[in-house]
């Protein structure tokens, strides 16, 4: 996803010289070409995320479209008050880009896992929250973030994610993307788990369960229409079950007149940190976020009906 991001960003930055990329001394092998080709549109702020974010707000208030870029929690939680006060309160045109969303930096451990970011960013006024599911969505999300005037949080995976969309889907801020139809269950997916959800839907189909799959690359504003007509809803995210996609769906459903008979948040437990160590695929299996695990949870919940 990060390659899709930087390629699309470079393309747009060549067309619009007001676009500036500010990095927190991270992005080896990713941002180098951009920095070399567009030095006047590149800043390395050093290992100093508070200054990076305040700096970005200052440049944005001077007319630039500014992206801050670092890994996992560093551009998000480390400088959260700069995001809230300097970026969001001033509605500054800053895009916060976190690479390595979820447990993409698996074996590096807990400090490098972004697993509460969606909940925290969603709570920020003026903030748009994007968590694309594959490299195609990452490219389109990058474009949408830059076209949107105002703060955007863009949560990316890392690299080597499987391309799910054969062609560019209709990608709009505040809209979901329907991937598969099915009347027995609806799977809402964000932040890189779309492929696993589609495979889980295949496994379920083999057992006579027809599941719809909807990609949710935009958590805020939220596409409430994506919930229409579902009797059994499942949210799937590589994030704490508190406050992310599961949270927004639960909030939306409670205020809606009609509710599904079954609802289950599939994600990471929000009660404690995990001490498991391993790569992203391993950790996904451990937390039931691989295709088998997702299918198993859904089958189990549906059997309660």
């Amino acid at each position: 996803m990060r390659s899709a991001f930087i390629e699309e960003l470079a393309r747009l930055a060549r067309l619009d010289r007001n676009i500036v990329l500010v990095v927190g001394d991270l992005g080896f092998g990713v941002v180098g070409k951009f920095a070399e080709e567009l030095p006047a549109q590149f800043v390395n702020a050093g290992v100093a995320e508070q200054n990076m974010t305040g700096l970005a707000a200052g440049m944005a208030l001077s007319g630039h479209t500014v992206l801050t870029y670092s890994i996992a929690n560093f551009p998000v939680i480390r400088c959260l008050e700069q995001i809230r006060n300097d970026v969001c309160y001033h509605d500054a045109n800053v895009k916060i880009v976190a690479v390595g969303g979820g447990m993409a930096y698996g074996s590096l451990g807990m400090t490098h896992h972004a697993t509460e970011d969606l909940a925290i960013m969603r709570a920020m006024p003026n903030m748009v929250v994007l968590a694309p599911n594959d490299p195609v969505e990452a490219k389109l999300a990058t474009r949408a973030a830059i076209e949107h005037r105002g703060p955007v949080y863009l949560r990316l995976g890392k690299q080597g994610e499987k391309r799910v969309h054969a062609t560019d889907p209709d990608f709009r801020i505040g809209k979901s993307i329907r991937m598969r139809e099915g009347g027995d269950a609806t799977l809402l997916v964000t932040g890189g788990l779309l492929q696993n959800a589609l495979e889980a839907a295949e496994l379920l189909a083999g057992k006579g369960i027809q599941a719809a799959v909807i990609s949710m690359p935009c958590l805020k504003p939220f596409d409430a229409q994506s919930l229409d007509g579902s009797t059994a809803l499942f949210t799937i995210e590589e994030h704490s079950v508190i406050g992310g996609l599961g949270g927004v769906v639960a909030e939306t459903l409670m205020e809606a007149g009609t509710r599904p008979t079954l609802f289950k948040r599939i994600g990471l437990p929000g009660e404690q940190f995990s001490s498991k160590v391993g790569d992203q695929d391993y950790l996904r299996r451990e937390f039931g976020l691989d295709a088998d695990g997702i299918a198993l949870t859904i089958e189990r919940v549906l059997s309660r009906r």
Partner: protein, 238 residues
Amino acid sequence: MSELLAVLYGGGVLRVDPACPDWPERDRFILSKGHGCAGLYAALAEAGFFPLPELDTFYLNGTRLAGHATTTVPGVELSTGSLGHGLPVGTGMALAAKRAGEAHRVFVLLSDGECDEGSVWEAALFAPQHRLDNLVVIVDYNKIQSLGTVKEVLDLDPFADKWRSFRWAVREIDGHDVDAVRDALTAVPFESGRPSCVIAHTVKGKGVSFMEDKLLWHYRAPLGDDRAIAMRELGENE
């Protein structure tokens, strides 16, 4: 701090246009110690950014004059309140101006206690690296912070040397000497290619005998007799 603001807005240092607060070529002034906004609002009103009588609404329900500097007030460049935010944002404004070849300057007024914040020093490292000589820091060095003296809490001395070692061009002045303030602020940049730092030595509550250098008056507003005495000592008619 009032002398600093008076010289900035009334002494011809800042190139601003009260009739056009968003004038793109204006100098930027950020009150990073946003709790000092009463002084800023007064300076802005005196300069003509908004009518003087509006000052009477300060802190009242429904006012736009909040207890920390807020951009809903004409002429306020950045909403501040939490310390350590102004210098990074001002640094971004200075970098943007530098890269665009624009001539305006960025002035950021810090408190001394604020310099406990790591974000101040992150920006202090960044600005000389990028040769931002269009950036000016003014520190209101009154040597008192929220729960005690700076010396007692986190001693900043040798303060000027800290800024110098971060490669800033530094001048120390008496922050109540209006001529000295004007001389320093009109002499920036002190060195080409370096950001400037003016350490203004001040006395908290200067000019009111019972307030001077007293921590209590960080929190208390003078009322009744206190107010009358304070106004008399400042040579103001109520």
